[in-house]
Amino acid sequence: MAGEVSISDFLYPEMLAEVPSPPQKIYFKGNYCSEIFQNCLAVVGSRKMSVYGVRVIEKIFSVLHKDISIVSGFMSGVDAEAHRRAIKLGLRTIAVMPCGIDYIHPENQADLYEEILSNEGLILSEFEGDFKPKSWTYPKRNRIVAGLSRAVLVVEASKNSGSLITARMANSYGRKVFVVPGSIFSNLSEGKTQISNEFAINIDSGFSINEFFGFGSGTNTYKNEKKSDSGNNVILETLKNDPMTMDELSEYLSVDISTLNKEVTYLLMSGLVTESEGKFYAC
């Protein structure tokens, strides 16, 4: 389904109409219905997401109530991961594009684009045709992301990043802003500290979001799917406290590299550990 909705239309999202300069007309593709706009949570964050960001989304989303729709900006990194995770969990998702409705940007995410459409998701844009994204279209897009949502979740954001702009915008519209804490050593945490000192609320689980949307706390779908037999694996326990490189592990545990290599492979294979840019993380 594709089409356009103007601001005078009764199908025009109410939340969006409230913002100071709402788009006069929005174009859409996919499942346009009033329910999808009921409980929107915007998820924003860096394009260069760390493994930590992936895990944040995984954990927070895993308990979200099924009636919450995930709104994001279809960029690589946090945006794409949010859309993907939402589809996987059966949550509705809305991708707000910075370009014309017929244009897929970034191109390499065409598969995700299709996936959103085939899973009752929605693609939105205030630009028509195959208008290419410009540097000024991104902030305009952000205003829609913030405008549609009752709350914004900031996953990872460096200082002065676009995600912060969206969060500030949402705050000025009177929307709630949630933020997850991050490591003080990561520059993807700097922005989060900034806004949580000003207005954002720190959360560490999706239940707080459910509660805000009025779906009660606890009790929901969350299953502890932690794998067994991790029992007394000393490597795993160490990584749980702090992600480390192979060298750091070797020094910390005084185990030689050769032994460590194979042990870590076994952990990787059983999915208890992941690796990114040379650092190992416990899942």
């Binding site: 394009r47 690589s76 060298d247 050769s258 290599n261 990787l268 294979m269 840019e277 040379g278």
Partner: protein, 516 residues
């Protein structure tokens, strides 16, 4: 009067016999002419020989002299025809007969002395294969020529001494070929543009990469290191040389042949013992890398034969250069085809590549923020990925060492190059026993059928490997590469069978997410 002198011509790495025919006519105006497709350096031989004769007080016959280099349809290149021409002229003018089983080779200087000439090792090899028992070469090349057993090498000092020798007045005694082990022990490697060997123990931390280097050295595997600037990639690669054993005699002959062809063997040196380490700059041309020219000469990959080809800033090399590595990485040789001929050069090298993860270099760096756009990073890594990467056995991330550790005192002293070299040597020994008669030296050279034969996985190892292939979406080639690396790890540990643990360690060096 007609005299025939034997010499050679080099086409690529192949050596052909050439007859230098000298005819002194009974009449005609005095003069000297060379025919038989000589290039400029051969044609100028005329003037060098004439002047050298004059300066040595030797007389040229005052008649028309014609010189033919037969067969006449092959291009003759190089300055080494001076000596055969001069020997022929001595024979013709003094009426002395030349030995039938001798090859002549060398460049003349105006004063009649002989200069160091490239290719004397190829000459001796040709002599041996074709039943010539004597070679006459410049004295600085004698050692190189004498590295081939069973050839009498005559070290010619200058034209007069040659004339005296041929006339039987003062005999030059042949240089005997030394045995391989005592040969060129005191060879100066500085001339081969090698830095002083860096001991691997001098590098602080990076144990993970050091282990990868050990595996590479033990099994001849290829390695790529990705990491931010200043993490020690280049230093690690350079240290690899210090844990590589010397060339075996068989290998040494292959390598010496190549270096002799391009004239990279310094005067008074014989067989090369150390493995070559080539470090081409990333602006290198396509021909510079794989070899080229109308009479093709070897490129960097051939010069790195049986040694290390270190490509720093791998992703900065041009795409044709990177793609040209595919064939040699797989087959261990490169075919350089030109309109006039096509030549095969051996190029069985160990590829050590290093690269930054993105144009600014800091993607994934825990300390510094990367300033590159998503697109830039993707394009940069796209250059790394794909077919070439699939052919590299081990992939490692190199992260900068914590500054505090640079000054810490608890550095491991026992892990130095000598310690690792010992283990590498043991692994080599096991491999050479295993591959006796197979025509290969190292695990990395195993064909798929040889992998089946020698890796013989038990069911649990096989299961683990299949799981890994599934989990990290690896290619079939990667599947076999992991088996080869696991075989090497087992060899380092001195174990007969490839166990699941060995596979697990091998997988560790193949599971990098950044490159997928």
């Amino acid at each position: 009067m007609l005299v025939k002198v034997k010499s050679i011509a080099n086409r690529g790495i192949q050596t052909l016999g050439v007859d230098v025919e000298i005819n002194v006519s009974s009449g005609g105006l005095p003069g000297l002419e060379i025919v038989g497709l000589p290039d400029k350096s051969v044609a100028e031989s005329r003037d060098r020989v004439r002047t050298a004769f004059q300066n040595c007080g030797l007389k040229l016959p005052g008649r028309k002299i014609m010189i033919n280099l037969a067969p006449a349809d092959i291009n003759k290149e190089g300055s080494f025809y001076d000596l055969p021409i001069a020997a022929g002229l001595i024979s013709a003018s003094l009426n002395i007969s030349l030995p039938d089983d001798a090859l002549f080779f060398g460049e003349l200087s105006f004063d009649g002395s002989l200069r160091h000439t490239k290719g004397s090792f190829l000459l001796s090899l040709y002599a041996k294969e074709n039943g010539y028992s004597r070679v006459f070469v410049p004295s600085s090349c004698a050692k190189e020529a004498a590295s081939v057993n069973g050839i009498f090498v005559y070290a010619v000092e200058n034209l007069s001494s040659l004339a005296e020798h041929l006339g039987g007045r003062r005999i030059i005694s042949p240089v005997s070929s030394g045995s391989f082990t005592e040969e060129s022990q005191n060879f100066s490697y500085k001339n081969l543009s090698r830095d002083e060997d860096l001991d691997i123990g001098e590098i602080i931390g990076q144990e993970y990469v050091k282990r990868a280097l050990e595996i590479c050295a033990a099994g001849g595997h290829n390695l790529i290191m990705v990491g931010p600037p200043g993490s020690g990639k280049t230093m690690l690669a350079k240290a690899l040389v210090s844990i590589l054993p010397d060339l075996s005699e068989e290998e040494s002959i292959e390598v010496t042949k190549i270096y002799s062809l391009v004239g990279k063997i310094p005067p008074n040196c014989g067989l090369l013992r150390k493995r070559p380490f080539r470090n081409p700059h990333h602006t290198i041309s396509y021909a510079g890398m794989i070899g080229g020219g109308s009479n093709p000469l070897p490129g960097e990959i051939t010069l790195a034969h049986r040694g290390v080809l270190f490509m720093d800033e791998f992703s900065e090399f041009t795409r044709p250069v990177l793609e040209s590595l595919r064939q040699p990485l797989e087959s261990g040789k490169i075919t350089v085809s030109r309109s006039r001929c096509s030549v095969d050069f051996p190029s069985k090298f160990m590829l050590i590549a290093s690269s930054n993860p993105c144009p600014c270099g800091h993607y994934g760096d825990p300390k510094k923020e990367c300033t590159c756009s998503e697109n830039k990073i993707r394009n940069y890594q796209a250059k790394l990925s794909g077919p070439i990467l699939d052919r590299i056995d081990l992939h490692v991330n190199v992260l900068p060492v914590d500054k505090n550790r640079l000054f810490s005192s608890n550095r491991s002293v026992e892990i130095n190059s000598k310690y690792i070299l010992d283990r590498v040597l043991k692994a080599h020994e096991i491999q050479s026993k295993r591959f006796e008669g197979e025509g290969i030296f190292f695990n990395c050279d195993m064909s798929n059928s040889q992998i089946e034969k020698y890796c013989n996985l038990k069911s649990d190892s096989k299961k683990l490997l299949l799981q890994a292939v599934e989990k990290f979406s690896l290619s079939t080639r990667a599947y076999f590469k992991i088996m080869k690396v696991a075989r090497t790890i087992a060899d380092i540990n001195g174990e007969n069978d490839v166990e699941a643990d060995h596979i697990a360690e091998a997988v560790q060096y193949r599971s990098k997410i950044f490159l997928q």
